[in-house]
């Protein structure tokens, strides 16, 4: 056990800290379409989100290991430096880089499996926040059983012609591009008939219908494709290999949904709230029942933070066995965050139900919002039940369900 990063990292930490200090209170002049995206602070410099992305990249605090020619910083992949950057930004009052499905999922996938042309065309604008992506996987009849998807793609001349429907497509209404799973080999077995296509969202024949979710935002959409034509080269991997490409991307998504440091920030925020808010004249934190529930959750988050250190160490020290350790992240991280946000509502009681712009709202109503939002994340990206199947079957080696004929 050695939790020291080494002296060169101490200097680096100081450097990041002073950078954060310089931009403290930075606020954005444009809005975010990610509901958890930072709205920035106050009292600091003002700029657009895209300008901020560029400054972060230039200083190596974002897209650090992405090659310069694709718009990244062009540094060595350095897991510890990335970790320090994340930790220092989360402690500071300076917003970090924007995320989203393009940045978190598509860019790593293209770096791994994209053609040179694709990397040149897409990575830079995506990193700069100028090209927003949506993920076109799920369909009305293909959710957990994603590989049963039916949206069709036919190669006619040098174009793919796409017909079908996607659903639950987050941010489609703001997106320039969609990475999409399409059945291109109708005669091949289920998993072998899928291709991974890159579709410009302004292509004729695409219709987007926003769907309002329980938070009352239109977080996702239905997307209809009618004879949508895109160039034959807009495919990642080979024909029929889309399933493997998609699974690489899902891995990136599952790791990044609920980082424990963010959850611990919320625990601290809740503790602060419980010291300030009173019930029968006594701070909430002085009510033993609420205090114990807060401590229970703090213990769980601490366990996940320690666990994250173990996973970090496993990345630095290849050969460490953390197979199950990685598989549990999506399940435990999203469930815990949901539980924590729900506790905040409980301790506030009726006040906890206030929403939107109601009088007496606490912390801008974020507790209710994130409580519901994380129920969405428990379902999206592979439901908790599917995660348990994965842990049991791939982690513990338990047998698969008997197959139903035709499924």
């Amino acid at each position: 056990m050695d939790l020291e990063y080494g002296p060169e990292y101490q200097d680096f930490t100081k450097e990041v800290q002073s950078f954060c200090k310089k931009y403290e209170g930075l606020s954005f002049i444009d809005s975010s379409n990610n509901p958890l995206g930072s709205s920035g602070g106050s009292g600091g410099p003002k700029m657009s989100r895209s300008e901020w992305q560029k400054i972060l990249i230039k200083n190596g605090y974002f897209a650090r290991s992405v090659p310069k020619e694709y718009g990244g910083y062009g540094g060595e992949a350095d897991i510890l430096r990335s970790r320090i950057i994340a930790a220092e930004f989360s402690k500071s009052k300076t917003p970090g880089a924007m995320g989203g499905q393009g940045i978190d999922m598509l860019v790593p996938t293209l770096l791994e499996m994209g053609t040179e042309e694709q990397k040149q065309a897409y990575i830079k604008p995506t990193l700069h926040g100028e090209m927003i992506w949506c993920q076109g996987y799920s369909e009305p009849n293909a959710g957990s059983d994603l590989a049963s998807l039916q949206t069709k793609g036919e190669l006619v001349g040098d174009e793919w012609v796409i017909n079908g429907q996607k659903i639950w497509t987050s941010t489609a209404q703001y997106s320039q591009m969609c990475f999409c799973l399409v059945r291109t080999e109708p005669d091949a077995p289920k998993h072998a008939g899928i291709s991974y296509l890159l579709i410009p969202m302004d292509t004729p024949g695409i219709e987007i219908r926003p769907l309002v979710d329980m938070t009352l935002n239109a977080g996702f959409n239905e997307v209809f494709f009618t004879d949508v034509k895109i160039p034959a080269g807009n495919i990642v991997g080979k024909r029929g290999e889309g399933w493997a490409v998609a699974n690489a991307t899902l891995g990136h998504e599952r790791g990044s949904l609920a980082p424990p440091d963010a959850t611990m920030n919320r625990v601290n925020m809740l503790m602060h709230l419980m010291k300030k808010e009173t019930l029968d004249g006594k701070p909430l934190i002085e009510h033993p029942i609420y205090r114990d529930r807060l401590m229970q959750i703090q213990g769980k988050v601490l366990a996940q933070q320690s666990h994250a250190l173990r996973l970090l160490s496993a990345k630095l020290n290849p050969g460490t066995d953390v197979k199950i350790g990685k598989m549990i992240q999506k399940l435990t991280g999203t469930e815990l965050r949901h539980e924590l946000e729900g506790l905040a509502i409980d301790v506030m009681g009726e006040i906890g139900t206030l929403y939107e712009d109601s009088p007496h709202l606490k912390n801008d109503g974020t507790w209710q919002f994130i409580y519901m939002y994380f129920l969405g994340l428990i379902i999206g990206g592979g439901t908790s039940q599917i995660q348990k199947n994965i842990i049991a079957e791939r982690g513990l080696g338990m047998p698969k369900e008997p197959k139903v004929e035709g499924a």
Partner: protein, 361 residues
């Protein structure tokens, strides 16, 4: 940066595991817990002493191995995993920690070197400092102790016992004195011994540095808590392994029960609950020695959190076994009960979480 066990730690742990696998078989555990084979537990204890468990935390200058608490934690995990029927937590972790921090130079030299040679073995009775039950409590005056300490750990056949009064002063007493009465308690966990100690004008030696600060006592208690968390961690892992193995073999409705999702999901939940506990226990042990600011918080939370997770696991793993899980024959209940004791000893989850809160304000 490296977060995990060293090769030496893993190696030592494997040795303890292997030893227990060979000697603390279910049959032997049955004999020991039904009380018909007293020598068997003494033999196992001796075997583990040969591996060096008594000297782990004793500084080299006093003849010990001079290792850190993480080392002790991995041993404790192995003992939990194999329901090791042997003194450990009090005798070889809490007592050395308390003496190291509270003893004068000469007290350290005297006691620690004799623990290292196994001439002395300590029981520890600190429960009353954490939460005093009816009729319990020790008071000190005129160099003697009076009163009763409950749930004293590892006192059976010990040469000495460490006791505390309400102020948190720590005393060494002679377990063979005529003024001490050590009464065995019968708990559900028969793999380890718990006692009640009654003092009647019992001569006591104060550990010098415990008179003006409770830090040494708290340090020893927290070390014990991390050991209990580690013990439950090991016990839980064994229960999960047994449940998963059983689920892959047992058939109903023409298929192995492990292919039923209800069963699979119970197993996945157990694994997901336990996995972060490894990191938490290791981290708590590491902080205990290296990071005073986080030490208390991590020790208390590790004890409480692992206790909660283990309780759920011990229930689910039993359920996966169906009626067989409920039998004495299978012996799964030894782990269930061990986890049950670990949860209550040195502070149940609610009490320890309250300490965790107070440690951060």
């Amino acid at each position: 940066m490296y977060f995990g066990l060293s090769d030496e730690q893993s190696f030592f742990q494997d040795n303890v595991r292997r030893y227990l696998k060979e000697h603390a078989t279910i049959d032997n555990i049955k004999h020991i817990t039904s009380g018909d084979e007293k020598n068997l537990s003494a033999e196992i204890h001796k075997g583990l002493l040969n591996l060096g468990i008594n000297g782990l935390l004793i500084p080299e200058k006093f003849g010990g191995l001079g290792l850190d608490l993480l080392f002790a934690a991995v041993v404790s995990e192995a003992l939990g995993g194999g329901v090791g029927p042997t003194p450990f937590i009090a005798s070889y972790v809490m007592a050395p920690t308390a003496i190291k921090h509270a003893g004068s130079k000469s007290q350290q030299e005297n006691y620690l070197s004799k623990i290292a040679t196994n001439e002395y073995r300590f029981g520890v009775g600190f429960s009353e400092f954490i939460g005093k039950r009816n009729d319990a409590g020790i008071s000190f005056s005129d160099n003697t102790l009076n009163g009763r300490a409950m749930f004293v750990l590892d006192a059976d056949d010990a040469t000495h016992v460490l006791l505390t009064d309400e102020q948190g002063q720590i005393f060494v007493v002679d377990a063979k004195s005529a003024n001490i009465e050590i009464v065995k308690l019968t708990t559900v966990d028969k793999t380890r011994q718990y006692s009640e100690v009654v003092c009647n004008n019992l001569e006591a030696e104060l550990l010098k540095n415990s008179s003006d600060s409770t830090d040494p006592l708290i340090h020893a208690i927290d070390a014990g808590r991390i050991m209990l968390a580690a013990d439950s961690l090991g016990a839980s892992q064994t229960m999960i392994n047994k449940a998963v193995d059983y689920a892959k073999e047992r058939k109903q409705f023409g298929r192995v029960i492990g292919s039923f999702q209800a069963v699979k999901h119970m197993c996945a939940e157990m694994a997901a609950d336990l996995e972060p506990c490894y990191a938490m226990v290791w981290h708590a042990a590491h902080c205990h020695d290296n990071s005073p600011n986080e030490a208390r918080l991590m020790a208390c939370h590790a004890k409480a959190h692992v206790s909660e997770m283990s309780k759920g696991i011990s229930k689910k793993a039993t359920e996966v076994h169906g009626g067989m899980g409920f039998t004495d024959l299978l012996g799964l209940h030894y782990w269930f009960k061990r986890i049950g004791l670990n949860r209550q000893i040195l502070g149940s989850p609610e009490l320890v979480r309250e300490e965790a809160y107070k440690a951060q304000i």
